[in-house]
């Protein structure tokens, strides 16, 4: 059975939990005491991921790190129809948003760690970067909606939506509200309606 080394408050681990739920993939989890225990930096976890980060996902004898890579793996191995990771001209765009979700958008995650857990860091600078990332998503989704679309890429949900969703939604933990992002609000309601959707603490089902 696949295994997720998981931390319940991690938006990156949530990407994997959400994707497996949407695909109906059953898996086991091992809770890692990320905070306050810093277990992701323990020798046992560094042996699995020398970067000392979560999530780590084991499947088919592979040990995978990086939430975006794991999303690709899940779509590749568990979505034979190929709708979540299309191989046509949408492929490049999906990859572009995956890179963004693991890159610029992680400023929201960093701001959240400072704001919520007291990690060291320049909160205002991180928030500013987080808002810039949110603005890029808002502008893109706004264009998509003006063109009659809703998803980040193409006419169906892809792993790009799943990669973007968690930290967009957790931005309130970083002190970034959603008042300025109407296109994001419209999009996030569609994500929540996906069959099999699961929430996480801070992303309640009752919205």
């Amino acid at each position: 059975m696949p295994k997720l080394y998981d931390y319940v408050l991690s938006g990156s681990c949530y990407k994997v939990r959400l994707m497996t739920a949407l695909l109906g993939v059953t898996y086991e989890t091992q809770a890692i005491d990320f905070y306050p225990g810093r277990e992701h930096k323990s020798p046992a976890m560094l042996a699995l991921n020398p970067l000392g980060q979560l999530p780590v996902f084991e499947d088919y004898g592979l040990v995978l790190r990086d939430a975006q890579a794991i999303l690709c793996h899940l779509a590749n191995r568990h979505d034979p129809a190929g709708t979540w990771l299309p191989r046509d001209q949408r492929f490049g765009q999906v990859m572009m948003w995956l890179g963004f979700a693991g890159g610029e958008l992680m400023a929201v995650s960093a701001a959240r760690m400072v704001s919520m857990l007291g990690y060291p860091g320049d909160l205002e600078a991180l928030r500013a970067k987080g808002r810039m990332a949110m603005r890029v998503i808002e502008d893109h989704l706004s264009d998509r909606q003006l063109a009659g679309g809703i998803w980040a890429v193409g006419d169906t949900p892809t792993i790009a939506d799943i990669a973007l969703f968690p930290y967009v939604m957790l931005s309130h933990d970083a002190g970034i509200g959603h008042e300025d992002y109407p296109a994001i609000n419209l999009w996030q309601r569609q994500v929540r309606r996906l069959p099999g959707f699961v929430g996480m603490p801070g992303i309640p089902d009752y919205f």
């Binding site: 931390y7 905070y35 306050p36 225990g37 007291g118």
Partner: protein, 289 residues
């Protein structure tokens, strides 16, 4: 921001974190009651500096406690702390943009379980809060709610099914609260789950959940993850409550019978004339009157 002048708030003991979470030798900046404080852990103990002076320090229950004033009582008694088979878990401080009093009141509330902790601490099919008892124990100056019962689909990390959980709540000071709850693995004893709130300012708090539990099977990571999951489900609600400051003025919020513990808690805060983290009254009644 500056140190509050609310004497009732000043004359209390406050937790600044678990002792083990402070690094040796490196001062840690934090805040209490509107004032910056610096905690330094050394081999020979912990010091806390605030408002230009050394503050009193206790390390009771392996937490760093301090006070700006003169607490009338020592830190509360916790007999369970001497039981050898209990696991001590320090779940780590979480910052919440809310009044510390709102955090305590939310902790006392049973009625939100089915809606905020759906399918974990409560079920939308069984939302009823059964009648429970509340009392102010004047000898120890604590608020107790007893004979609380609630159906819980997943009461704790070690649960493998639903149970009717028995609860007792105990408010030991305005910003420190704990609950006693039947553990899935030892129905004749009580788990202790405490919430120590560090009021940084009137609308920002750091919650320090602390658990003394009987659970021979779950890993530390599983128990801490369960507690953090629950608390983060509360956080989004707490940060969106309005007014942000706890209203003590009659008529500002309307309690129901399920809110008995909250009613007594607010009455007790009024009796203490505590104002820090409360909404300014507009009815001309002074705090403590």
């Amino acid at each position: 921001m500056s140190l509050t002048t609310d004497q009732a708030a000043l004359d209390q003991w406050y937790v600044l974190g678990a002792v083990s979470h402070f690094p040796f030798g490196t001062p840690v900046e934090t805040g209490l009651l509107g004032e910056p404080v610096t905690v330094t852990r050394r081999d020979d103990g912990v010091t806390v500096i605030g408002a230009g002076r050394s503050l009193p320090v206790r390390t009771t229950y392996n937490h760093v406690w301090t006070s700006f004033g003169t607490p009338a009582r020592d830190i509360f008694a916790l007999p369970e702390a001497t039981e050898p088979d209990r696991r001590w878990l320090y779940c780590g401080g979480v910052r919440v943009a809310a009044s510390g009093l709102r955090l305590i009141e939310n902790f006392l509330d049973l009625a939100h379980f089915p809606y905020v902790h759906t399918d974990i601490l409560g079920s939308e099919e069984k939302p009823e809060v059964a009648k429970y008892e509340v009392e102010q124990r004047r000898d120890v100056d604590e608020i107790w709610a007893t004979k609380c019962e609630f159906f819980q689909p997943k009461a704790a990390a070690a649960s493998d099914g639903g149970q009717i959980s028995q609860y007792m709540y105990r408010v030991v000071s305005p910003f420190n609260v704990m609950l006693y709850k039947t553990p899935p693995t030892a129905p004749n004893r009580w788990d202790v789950i405490a919430l120590f709130v560090q009021p940084v300012d009137e609308t920002h708090s750091i919650a320090h959940p602390f658990m003394l539990v009987i659970d021979p099977t779950s890993t530390d990571a599983e128990i801490i993850a369960f507690q953090q999951m629950i608390f983060l489900q509360d956080k989004i609600v707490l940060e969106n409550q309005r007014p942000a400051l706890l209203p003590l003025q009659p008529g500002r919020e309307t309690p129901t019978r399920a809110d008995l513990s909250s009613v007594l808690y607010r009455r007790w805060l009024k009796e203490k004339a505590l104002t820090f983290g409360t909404e300014p009254r507009t009815d001309g009644v002074a705090a403590g009157a």
